[in-house]
Amino acid sequence: MNSVLKISELHVSVGETPILKGVNMEIRQGEIHALMGPNGSGKSTLAYALAGHPNYTVTEGSIEIDGVNVTEMEPNERARLGMFLAFQYPVVIPGVKVADFLRHAVTNVRNPDRKEGEGLIGMREFRKEIRERMTELGMDLEFARRYLNDGFSGGEKKRMEILQLAMLQPRFAILDETDSGLDSDAVRVVSEGLAKLAGPEMGVLIITHHERLLEFNPPQFTHVMLGGRIVETGDAALAHDLHANGYATVRARHPEADADNARVEAAAAV
């Protein structure tokens, strides 16, 4: 079955401030979507809202996976339904080893009906698998014994996100500026890693300012976000055009959304 992630008329507020103002999008397994837009347009807000961050309140609209409304679900319930967010700023968890964390996560995601306290997946099979994935991503096996993101460089953190993506094999992966803050080698590693992982079983939403990630993972759809809504949708050529020429023409075509965007940007600057 071809799964689908359906976002309908999504309105999201952070505190009292509305950020998303009616986002519509459909992502099918096997598709790659690019989401672009200037600062303050709401790209990361969409990512967090999809993953279920408690500070991002859905005020209208819905998020559905195969017709199941997940809008009110906890983040872990969404993860068990196949949602994955690669964080722009991965969080440090001191004292928790990567391997221990991932074994727990993989167990839960693969056995959605698991009760707390029930056994984890076998150590031997897990070790074998994580070693293979790490080798494929060119990661030092020592990473598995380090504390999660603790003392990691920017590139190491992003690679750790890709490792989690590889282990959890979600149906829908949202990559929130996974290529930001990386040198070109690291961007290449992450891009190639994603290219290996994305396939007919995975729907991907790539949020990016840059083009490199999209070179390795050419999108079928490019969405432009401005002022909390999707103002244009095209193909890979649109992404290329935006990189080359910036957002000036898009802003000019959508003055009302542009004004909204400017307000959010101004508020963020204070």
């Binding site: 983040p75 969404r78 967010l85 440090v92 001191p94 221990d100």
Partner: protein, 517 residues
């Protein structure tokens, strides 16, 4: 001056601090060299915390809530404390006259001292409502098979035999007031190591015993040291001869097992020049409804070039007053380490101390406290620098939840003449819900110049971003909380012998998960 290198367990502790918090307080004091400087500071932090966390995890709930019947005690003193009881204890043990006198003098000191007005609330502690001596079996046992059935059953539930087979080198399992089971590997005794219960040591090694007993912590040190000196029973006595290094930890399990029964064990460890030992004790206690008192004294001498590590994991039931005096004297170029984990109890007041007596001595304390509902952990450490070129380090971590209160109370003292000393104190507190509390009371007294003292403290909530990150990977809120807490105490757990580490992590998991269902 030889370079001061941190042992590995402390190297990356700064990185362990939780990094994204709703609330964080951190202060840093650095003192460098002011002649005749005397300074004290008290600080209290009641952390404001957000209220929308649904953290209903269960800490301090008591797992080992079983107990054996009370019928099989060979002897039980009447309740209460007076000279007659003290004489009776001494007589029953067949002690020499000097010990009887010592006990009676200690009782007089105990009675003359007021209750401490600081620390925790002891208003419903009634010294006359406690049994001060009980004996579970008449004979000292040497083999597991000889241990009475119901006592063995209790240890079975605590996993002692397996633990012994696999890890233990010598078990001193204290059952109520008296050691009933003990074994010691032969090669240890061949090396001249003495590992016995303290009562036997008084009988079998009287000269060595008397040379050190109560020299580190005299009865007049504090009210509870005086109480212990008057009614002490059981505990471990360890002597490691010059140059002997014990590769594996020596361990003792003990527990309180009768209502209103005080436990007053007395431990004395002498590590002779160039020797090394790691001693481990762990306690679990059944749950009872009325108050129970545990007041131990631990004295340690670490001679020149020797090393001693003393690891404690205590998990008292939530009606126990745990009032313990622990002190080590560390001589030239020696290393003393306290590793101290406090779970449970109604009130714990415990500040393991290290007196750095000669140049090159080092002291380290790593402590973790959990305070659950109705519990107050008032714990910390004391470092007294009596000689130049000595160094100390204190790392204290506390977790408060469901209305529990944890306090760090610590002293760093640099005495006159103790130049070129270094001390570093790090306190991290984790508060899991708005009803819980954490305080920090660091005392610093410096009477010398050219010293370096650092103090850092942080208070954190379980980070919302941390919870979200872990939950977005499929972990439930309880699982994510347990994982964050487990990570928080990892610096201590990784220093524990394996079965303690396993038990510690299991306790946390059970307590965090148990609340959900």
């Amino acid at each position: 001056m030889p370079g001061w290198k941190l042992p590995p367990q402390f190297e990356d502790s700064r990185e362990h601090r939780l990094q994204d918090q709703w609330f964080e307080l951190r202060f840093k004091i650095k003192i460098t060299g002011k002649a005749g400087f005397l300074w004290k500071r008290t600080m209290s932090t009641d952390a404001p915390v957000k209220t929308d966390v649904k953290s209903n995890v269960e800490f301090g709930s008591y797992k080992y809530g079983f107990h054996d019947s009370m019928d099989n005690y060979a002897f039980k003193s009447r309740k209460g404390l007076d000279a007659e009881i003290v004489r009776q204890i001494s007589e029953l043990k067949g002690e020499p006259e000097w010990m009887t006198d010592f006990r009676l003098e200690s009782l007089a000191i105990f009675e003359s001292r007021p209750m401490p007005s600081w620390g925790g609330d002891m208003s419903d502690l009634n010294f006359q409502d406690i049994f001060y001596y009980m004996k579970a079996a008449n004979e000292q046992e040497t083999s597991w098979d000889d241990v009475p059935e119901d006592i063995r059953r209790t240890y079975d539930r605590l996993g002692i035999p397996e633990a012994e087979k696999k890890y233990l080198s010598g078990v001193k399992a204290q059952y109520d007031s008296e050691v009933v089971y003990g074994s010691l590997q032969e090669d240890l005794s061949k090396q001249g190591v003495i590992f016995t219960d303290t009562d036997s040591a008084l009988r079998d090694h009287p000269d060595l015993f008397r040379e050190y007993f109560a020299t580190i912590i005299p009865p007049g040190d504090n009210k509870f040291a005086a109480l212990n000196s008057a009614v002490w029973s059981g505990g471990s006595f360890i002597y490691i001869p010059k140059g002997v290094k014990i590769e594996f930890p020596l361990q003792a399990y003990f527990r309180i097992n009768s209502q209103n029964m005080g436990q007053f064990e007395r431990t004395l460890i002498i590590v002779d020049e160039g020797a090394a030992v790691h001693y481990v004790e762990g306690c679990t206690a059944p749950t009872y409804s009325s108050n129970s008192l545990h007041s131990a004294v631990v004295e340690i001498v670490v001679k020149r070039g020797a090393r001693c590590r003393y690891t404690t994991i205590q998990n008292w039931s939530s009606n126990v007053y745990n009032l313990v005096t622990k002190r080590a004297m560390a001589y030239g170029d020696s290393l003393m380490e306290w590793i101290d984990g406090n779970l449970g109890s109604k009130l714990t007041m415990k500040y393991p101390a290290i007196w750095l007596m000669e140049p090159g001595a080092r002291g380290e304390t790593l402590s973790i406290a959990f305070a659950g509902h109705g519990q107050h952990q008032d714990a910390g450490a004391k470092m007294v620098h009596c000689a130049p070129n000595t160094s100390s380090r204190i790392i204290s971590k506390s977790i408060s939840r469901t209305g529990g209160r944890s306090s760090y109370r610590g002293l760093v003292k640099i005495q006159k003449g103790a130049t070129n000393c270094k001390s570093n104190v790090v306190c991290d507190a984790l508060i899991l819900d708005p009803a819980s509390r954490s305080d920090t009371y660091p005392y610093i007294e410096v009477e010398e110049q050219e010293v370096s003292i650092e103090h850092e403290a942080s208070v954190s909530k379980i980070g919302e971003e941390q919870l979200f990150y872990l939950m977005s990977r499929g972990l439930s809120e309880a699982e994510a909380s347990a994982m964050i807490v487990t990570g928080f105490i990892e610096p201590l757990v990784k220093e524990l012998p394996m079965e303690y580490a396993v038990e510690m992590n299991r306790l946390i998991e059970l307590q965090m998960e148990g609340s959900v269902g």
